[in-house]
Subunit: 242 residues, 2 copies
């Protein structure tokens, strides 16, 4: 018995951000985070407001639920949180997914290493910039990215930094400079993860996206980068579970 | 002397679509196309309206112009058209780019093979669906994708199909079924590549994007796909040269 705290399971939908943007995927969101970012868009996974939705599930149960929702229509599962890297026993779920030929995508802020990182097909490390209120432990981050040098050609690793302001932008540059060989994604921050006025939200997000593009395009320190929005907010606004 | 017909050179900007969406890149747009798609958004490259902008340029001149515009701020160049695969002598430009450690991205509809395809880092083959009014020669497409099986691990190849309607969608499925091992991108068609009302444009494009997502998510034949918009139209509307 090795249960996992599951917050929600949904899909199929598209991955709205990062290295596999646009990918058809199922989502498993785990509960719990060691951070408390000021602008966390999934604070319900750790701030107590969602605690009634947490279910302790065996990997087999999670797989059953994925099949019930997604049938035979998917080959990709994204594990998100919270911080799924808190869960040492996540390897049970990863194993079942692999046995069923499912590609696995996972995102974590890089505050903790797990040996099962090597089994993730598309691994995003997303250290949090100053606006989050969190402080990056670069020694741990160094260890994680150093360990990952032993990965196989089949595993993709990327960095992703959310940028809300100039200070965050400088932080993103610092991260890129420290790990120049890891593909890096700059992502526009969503300053208002609560509004339900989608029109206003999109127009603000697009302004912010253009601001970030303009900065990065003029910046010789950022030669090889990708700048992306969160596509799902364009399509579904701030709605959850899509 | 091996000059190339160049329509425009611009950047740095982001790649708005496909396999390297979000990538900081320079663009070189070549003139001429063997197709005449009904909804071509760069018809000025082949319909005569842009003929005064075509400059015959040596690869060295193109490189000089790229450096003049992009300085030391880029490491990625996208060659688009028209159909750049019409130009046998494009290898001269590719060679200079490679010598300068530039990654090269290129898109072609797949109507013609060139040996220099092997030198493209990120190659997109985008066969045109029925709404284009064009007819795909699947024998040629077979040959191209068969040849590309000899590519190295460093070269990425993808298929991209623009979808305007149900018939196009069925065509995309057919393409995916024929080449199941090649990553495929479905891209929302822009039905109005002339309007200057960006608000209306974005709202229409988002509706269409959601329509395409909804179809693909429910479709068991499309397990492993990516569904993407053209990000640049969200940010810049139908403006050219950005
Ligand atoms: S690390 Fe992620 S889940 Fe945790 S608080 Fe920050 S944004 Fe939220
Ligand atoms: S193949 Fe491309 S450039 Fe040529 S007509 Fe069609 S859309 Fe336009």
């Amino acid at each position: 018995m090795s249960k996992l705290p599951v917050m929600e399971i949904f899909g199929p939908t598209i991955q709205g951000e990062g290295m596999v943007i646009g990918q058809k995927t199922m989502f498993v969101r785990t509960a719990g985070c060691d951070y408390s970012c000021a602008w966390c868009d999934s604070a319900f996974t750790w701030d107590g407001t969602g605690k009634d939705s947490i279910t302790q599930m065996e990997p087999e149960q999670i797989w059953d639920e994925l099949k019930r929702l997604g049938g035979n229509g998917f080959s990709f599962v994204t594990i998100s949180g919270g911080n799924p890297a808190l869960l040492k026993n996540l390897d049970g779920l990863i194993k079942i997914l692999k046995q069923n030929d499912i590609k696995v995508c996972l995102e974590t802020q890089g505050s903790k290493w797990q040996d099962w990182f090597f089994q993730i097909d598309e691994l995003t490390i997303s250290p949090k910039p100053p606006s989050s209120g969190m402080l990056t432990n670069f020694e741990i981050l160094d260890t994680i990215l150093d360990n990952l040098k032993a990965r196989t050609m089949n595993q993709n690793v990327s960095l992703k930094v959310v940028v809300f302001n100039d200070e965050d932008y400088l932080y993103a540059k610092k991260v890129h400079k420290r790990y120049p060989d890891i593909p890096i994604f700059l992502q526009v921050g969503n300053e208002d993860s609560r509004t339900t006025d989608d029109q206003v939200l999109i127009s603000r997000l697009l302004d912010k996206y253009q601001w970030l593009i303009d900065k990065a395009m003029l910046d010789d320190d950022l030669q090889n980068i990708k700048v992306l929005p969160q596509l799902h907010t364009y399509v579904w606004g701030n709605k959850r579970g899509v």
